[in-house]
């Protein structure tokens, strides 16, 4: 097990390296630069800026410098948010995104699995139909519609909850963005759970458990659930990575100072280092969660061996 984890972590290094390389060169081959503003800067200023940020050096040397610095944890200064290093910016935004994303992930997972299980146990009932319709809507309605609609209903018309901002970080402020963020993932979890649960309820070991006269709660929770959770667990990795690294849309709508906005802002301003920092952050999340899911898989399904 430990050697499996170590091997996976070791193989993550070249993956990260290639991700960084691809992003670096893709960005640099694009026209424009961080200091090409609408009003052109005087040539001398431009030259000075380029020298300060080492943008005047050949591309390969910039690349080597970047890699060298990144290995030591130095992701360089942000070009747009002056006086801030990329590390500081992400460090500031990440706690907000993590907290909001964590709640949303919990909501999506618990809600989705619960709804999917109930729908599967009462297959083709009105409740099943309702769950499946709602989850299809959840997948198809973009969250930049869900966000404003929720705000309009619960914050403006009913005035139950605040319309946006982080506030004091209490749950009241997080409920609306959390729901808007969780809804599409909740829908996917519900569909996955329903599908695999229906399949699991028809397997031999469930029939055996029923034949033993076990109460149906035990059959469902301890026997069927365990088998049905496999596809859910494998979807957990992309869902967690997407939710925890923040959403540009939700953070914009609810004015949350998270890390999701940085990518879009960085891209629009051609803030190379900030974009690179965000790419690395997301890639790390994806890799780590894939690893965690593989470990979890082994725990759920003893047939999966990590050796």
């Amino acid at each position: 097990m430990i050697s499996f984890v170590l091997r996976r972590l070791a193989s993550a290094v070249p993956t990260l390296f290639i991700v960084v390389t691809i992003s670096f060169f893709l960005m640099r081959f694009a026209p424009g630069g961080p200091f090409n503003l609408e009003r052109p800067l005087p040539p001398q200023t431009m030259a000075n800026l380029m020298r300060t940020y080492h943008l005047d050096q050949p591309l390969w040397s910039q690349y080597l410098t970047y890699i060298g610095n990144a290995v030591t944890g130095d992701f360089g200064p942000s070009y747009i948010y002056k006086d801030n290093t990329v590390f500081e910016l992400i460090g500031k935004g990440l706690p907000y995104s993590l907290q909001l994303g964590g709640y949303a992930l919990l909501l999506a997972l618990v809600g989705g699995v619960l709804a999917g299980t109930i729908a599967a146990l009462r297959q083709n009932s009105a409740f099943d139909f309702l769950i499946m319709s709602v989850s299809t809507v959840g997948v198809t309605v973009p969250n930049f519609v869900v966000g404003p609609v929720l705000t309009l209903i619960f914050a403006i018309s009913l005035a139950w909850l605040p319309a946006g901002s982080w506030g004091d970080g209490s749950l009241r402020f997080l409920i609306l963005p959390m729901i808007a963020l969780a809804l599409p993932q909740l829908a996917v979890f519900a569909r996955l759970t329903r599908g695999s649960m229906i399949e699991a309820m028809h397997t031999d070991h469930i029939r055996t458990a029923r034949a033993y006269g076990l109460p149906s709660r035990v059959v469902v929770v301890t026997h069927a659930m365990r088998a049905a959770m496999l596809p859910v667990v494998s979807y957990l990795a992309p869902a967690a990575a997407a939710l925890l690294t923040g959403s540009a849309v939700i953070e914009t709508i609810f004015t949350i100072p998270g890390v999701g906005r940085y990518f879009v802002l960085g891209a629009i301003n051609r803030d190379y280092t900030l974009v690179m920092g965000t790419v690395v952050l997301i890639a790390i999340f994806v890799i780590v969660f894939n690893l965690l899911v593989d470990i979890l898989y082994g725990l759920l399904d003893p047939r999966v061996r990590h050796d």
């Binding site: 993956t15 990260l16 691809i22 694009a30 026209p31 424009g32 973009p142 930049f144 609609v149 849309v249």
Partner: protein, 376 residues
């Protein structure tokens, strides 16, 4: 003897059904899937044929009708015409004496201290409400003019946006662009994914290892964000948007096709093709790819809504197609910004958008069930 043989020589009453026919039969029995297909056809007709049946173009601006709510009644309504005429008259620096509307024709009498230039009629035509204004009589040495012209009535069934453009025409255009992006991007991802997957799976061995390792690495690239970067850096043209989206959505397709290819390449017909001396490329093209079509078609119905959703995300960030062109995503984003003052701007595009994605999902489910040989 012949009497006995004749009935046996007749062909059986029911013809045998091919696998494809069976699948089509199962699909047609699936009511949700059939309804979805009809819905999709209707939406496509609305988007692509609809513009020929309405009088407004998507970029036509009606300054008199900014942000008006949807209505089945034609605009302007009779009661507001008086006000409109008065404001036009004051803009033309003449005084309105009489004003009457009969059916589609209006008559007005205007006076001024100085002789009125007959060219003042241009002021009247400039308003969206009036058209073809003519001078019928001149009195008081040209100080009084009698005017007549037609009232142009406009229907805005979906209302207008904050620039005074007909929302129905915009929704139609948005549909054209969203559907086109969805189909073209899926086509791009289909081509890359099928070719990549079939090549990787058929050649196998070390090549397969390297190619699939590359796909795995690409999986950990934050792709949605890569799309944002590419679109921001290389410009916001329509072609680029679907190329970029297609170029990042092919990974799943490649994996599916590779899996199919791995089983296909052990089949006899492939061995036969190899024995006949066909090259690898010929075998991939003529024997492998055509046989992977089933799962690929099903997967396309998953990709198309995904792509449309991704395009709408780009539009929300302001990175979609540029105005006056629009897409459903762009319209929805615009509507979401004006949700309180003009909710119809959000409602109409969202209805079409959600209906399309809903139908694509159901059609895809139906297709999967129909092609799935397991539950026959």
């Amino acid at each position: 003897m012949t009497d006995i043989l004749t009935p046996a020589a007749l062909p059986p009453e029911t013809a045998s059904r091919s696998l494809f026919q069976l699948a089509a039969l199962r699909f047609r029995r699936n009511r949700a899937a059939m309804a979805s297909c009809i819905m999709l056809v209707l939406i496509a007709l609305f988007s692509f044929v609809g513009p020929y049946f309405i009088s407004h173009s998507y970029d036509q601006v009606f300054p008199s009708y900014v942000s008006i709510p949807p209505s089945l009644e034609p605009r302007p309504d009779a009661s507001s015409l008086q006000d409109v005429m008065e404001s036009v008259a004051s803009r033309a620096r003449v005084e309105l004496k009489e004003f009457a509307v009969e059916g589609q024709i209006f008559t007005a009498t205007v006076t001024s201290d100085k002789p009125v230039d007959p060219r003042t009629t241009r002021y009247f035509d400039r308003a969206n409400e009036f058209d073809g204004t003519q001078v019928v009589a001149t009195e008081d040495d040209g100080r009084t003019l009698k005017l007549t012209g037609s009232v142009s009535r406009e229907y805005f069934l979906f209302g207008t946006d904050s620039n005074g453009r007909d929302l129905m025409a915009r929704v139609m255009l948005g549909g054209q662009i969203s559907i086109a992006v969805g189909l073209l991007a899926s086509l791009v991802s289909l081509s890359i994914g099928v070719l990549y997957g079939a090549t990787s799976g058929y050649i196998g061995g070390r090549v397969d290892n390297v190619m699939m390792r590359f796909v795995e690495i690409l999986y950990s690239l934050p792709f949605v964000f890569l799309v944002v970067v590419l679109v921001v850096f290389f410009g916001r043209s329509f072609i680029l948007i679907f190329l970029v989206i297609g170029a990042v959505e092919w990974l799943d397709m490649a994996r599916i096709v590779r899996g199919q290819t791995l089983t296909l390449k052990r089949r006899e017909f492939v061995s036969a093709a190899q024995a006949l001396g066909l090259t690898d490329w010929q075998i991939i093209r003529r024997h492998i790819i055509p046989n992977t079509i089933g799962p690929v078609v099903v997967f396309v119905t998953v990709v198309v809504p995904k792509v449309i959703l991704l395009e709408s995300f780009l539009s929300f960030l302001g990175l979609g197609v540029q105005a006056p062109l629009t897409s459903w995503g762009a319209l929805i984003a615009e509507g979401a910004n004006n949700i309180q003052s003009s909710p119809w701007l959000l409602i109409f595009p969202t209805i079409f958008f959600v209906l399309t994605l809903f139908s694509l999902n159901f059609a895809g489910d139906g297709l999967r069930d129909a092609l799935d040989p397991k539950d026959r």
